[in-house]
């Protein structure tokens, strides 16, 4: 219900909100973009095509893709298991899935250091096998998976709960196998929220800083993701470089926001139909 009289209060509130959001949210974006191009397009291109920059971008993509793939796989199976069956320990599983959201990214990094680091009981075995996780790429991938862990399952579970199990039961009664039931009956219900979850997961994965920072060891060109590379440039007073790399992430963020709105709209329309 919209307020009918458009008193001055309305415009004071709108103005206040707009001003606050502009200063807090838009100004930083404008600043990133303007600083990135401050020394001209040439410097910008050099900054983003720098050998280490490209490596950081590739590592970020790798970590993000891994997180999205693992979390999608996990999200779909976990949602199926939690919403389609009754079993003991279901509550514990749900709680554990959401746990990473309540843990500070630094602590997320810490628990992996404790698990795979030098003082861990696993460490001798890992070394024998020649696997290094801490201060190496696997650690970064693991940390990224951890901080984005519940993003996809959280989106799917409420939709499947709301849809109920009747359709799957009906299909199973008619003799359909699990594969057919999932693709023909269940998947159409979750396709938009699944994509929505993937977008959220991507956003968080590519920007994760704290947890990755603990696990990376900051090896330039090896274990630096984009946010870590930005930190490195920034601490080396290469502000233009830092903001140039940042500008890529800003553009990605805007793309993600637009995708998010589109998916939200499509999902809503689909549910209403």
């Amino acid at each position: 219900m919209k307020q009918k009289q458009s008193g001055p209060l309305k415009w004071v509130l709108i103005g206040g909100s707009a001003f606050f959001l502009f200063v807090m949210l838009i100004l930083p974006l404008i600043y990133v973009l303007s600083t990135a191009f401050r020394e001209g397009i040439q410097v910008y291109i050099e900054s983003v095509t720098d050998e280490y920059a490209v490596k950081a971008i590739l590592l970020t993509i790798r970590a993000t893709v891994s997180a999205v793939v693992i979390n999608t796989l996990f999200g779909v199976f976990a949602a199926w298991c939690i919403t389609r069956f009754q079993f003991r320990g279901k509550k514990i599983i749900s709680t554990l899935i959401d746990l990473p959201l309540t843990v500070s990214p630094i602590i997320a990094g810490l628990i992996y250091v404790l698990t795979f680091g030098r003082q861990s009981a696993l460490y001798p075995y890992l070394q024998k096998l020649g696997i290094s996780i801490i201060y190496a790429v696997p650690g970064i991938v693991l940390a990224t998976i951890f901080v984005t862990f519940p993003f996809i399952s959280r989106e799917i579970i409420p939709v499947l709960t709301a849809a109920g199990t009747d359709e799957e039961e009906a299909a199973a009664l008619m003799g359909a196998n699990g594969w057919t039931i999932f693709w023909r009956v269940t998947f159409p219900h979750i396709k938009w929220v699944l994509l929505y979850g993937v977008v959220l997961c991507t956003a968080r994965a590519m920007g994760e800083f704290g947890a990755v920072s603990v696990l990376s060891g900051h090896l330039r060109g090896k274990t630096n993701t984009m946010p870590l590379y930005i930190e490195l440039l920034y601490q080396g007073y290469d502000y233009t470089g830092a903001f140039a790399i940042s500008s890529i992430l800003v553009v990605m963020a805007i793309v993600i926001l637009i995708l998010r709105s589109v998916l939200e709209y499509l999902g809503k329309k689909d549910r209403e139909a």
Binding site: A163, G164, D166, E167, E169, A170, A171, A172, L173, M174, G175, A176, N177, T180, R184, V185, P188, H189, A273
Partner: protein, 359 residues
């Protein structure tokens, strides 16, 4: 050799955690019959249906379909068509795809799928709606799709869970008749669950009444209505009022000592307006009209007796109307007496003749 049943449940027990959902369920159903499973919610009727279908598993007991114990046969191979309470139509498939689903997973050849789906849609009267999605159909149409989908793979047994619950009252009446007609056309053995006694009485060939996980009575609707055998059924079926003081009612004093509880139904009562000829003047009881309601062919009156009991009685609309507060006389032909274990009818002494009839 006992009677050969088509569907049978023997000594079925089922628990959900600490809750005894079903206790020693035994019944048999003849081929081609339409059975109503009737009971209040939580009485176990839906659980019986789901166990028959294989959607739930009983702790003990046997399920026999067509002479074969099917306990360990998966739901999909029991040859059962199931209509879910909210139909469970596949929301993202067209009407055609919904009906074709069971045939496709059973690997029917393409041309036969098409033929069979069209045949089913013709049968349920939904030709021309093949391309619609369930959300574009009315409640009644959805039920027809669910029915067509359940019947398409040629099941030997059709199970329907509260088939009319999701439909508004006006269409419900029409659909009941439609469904009964359709099932007799197809000739398939069917069991439906309902909590609505009117629905069960109207649609079913035979009714199984459940209460608190047990079967109370099995029988033809008319038998169940006329001769309830347990206190629960006596109270549950029909529009009954409970009588506190049986001995007050003239004509039943002779049996009052043996009757612990009794109920009386509107059709057992005749209401006489002052001045109307009374058939058995010695057996009428005075009362006061408290409320009246027009019910179409009859007018329903609430009448208070001298001890405060309120009875419901009907008079045809073409008789003289009774005003609220009016003094009337009531004659009861019979009442249903029951104790903890059983129920039995008791006739008014005037009608029972010289030898009063007491069971």
């Amino acid at each position: 050799m006992e009677q050969q049943y088509y569907v049978e449940m023997r000594d079925i027990n089922k628990q959900f955690g600490d809750f005894q959902a079903l206790e020693q369920i035994n019944f048999g159903i003849e081929k081609g019959k339409l059975i109503g499973l009737l009971g209040p919610s939580g009485s176990g009727k839906t659980t019986i249906l789901r166990i028959l279908a294989g959607l739930e598993t009983a702790e003990t007991g046997d399920i026999i379909i067509n002479g074969q114990v099917v306990n360990d046969i998966p739901a999909s191979q029991r040859g059962i068509g199931f209509v879910f309470q909210n139909y469970a139509l596949f929301r993202y498939m067209t009407v055609f795809e919904n009906v074709a689903f069971g045939l496709r997973v059973q690997k029917w050849p393409k041309s036969r799928v098409k033929e069979r789906v069209n045949e089913m849609l013709r049968l349920v009267g939904l030709e021309g709606l093949e391309k619609r999605y369930p959300s574009q159909l009315s409640g009644g149409q959805r039920q027809r799709v669910a029915f067509a989908r359940a019947l398409a793979p040629e099941p030997q047994l059709l199970l329907l869970d509260e088939p009319f619950a999701a439909i508004d009252a006006k269409v419900r009446q029409e659909l009941r008749r439609w469904l009964k007609g359709m099932i007799s056309t197809v000739g398939i053995t069917s069991i439906f669950v309902t909590h609505d006694q009117e629905e069960a009485i109207e649609v079913a060939d035979e009714i199984i009444i459940t209460n608190q996980g047990r079967i109370e009575q099995i029988g033809k609707p008319v038998d169940i209505y006329r001769n309830p055998t347990t206190p629960f059924v006596a109270r549950f079926i029909g529009d009954s009022a409970e009588l506190e003081n049986v001995h007050l009612f003239p004509g039943f004093e002779y049996a009052a000592d043996q009757i612990k509880h009794a109920i009386i139904r509107p059709e057992y009562l005749t209401v006489y307006k002052k001045g109307e000829p009374v058939e058995y003047p010695n057996s009428v009881e005075p009362g006061v009209v408290v409320q009246s309601a027009f019910r179409g062919t009859v007018t329903e009156y609430q009448i208070r007796l001298s001890d405060g009991t309120i009875l419901t009685a009907n008079r045809l609309v073409d008789t003289a109307p009774l005003a609220e507060g009016e003094q009337v006389q009531i004659f009861a032909r019979r009442l249903l007496a029951f104790d903890e274990e059983r129920a039995f009818p008791v006739e008014n002494i005037c009608l029972a003749g010289v030898r009063p009839y007491v069971i």
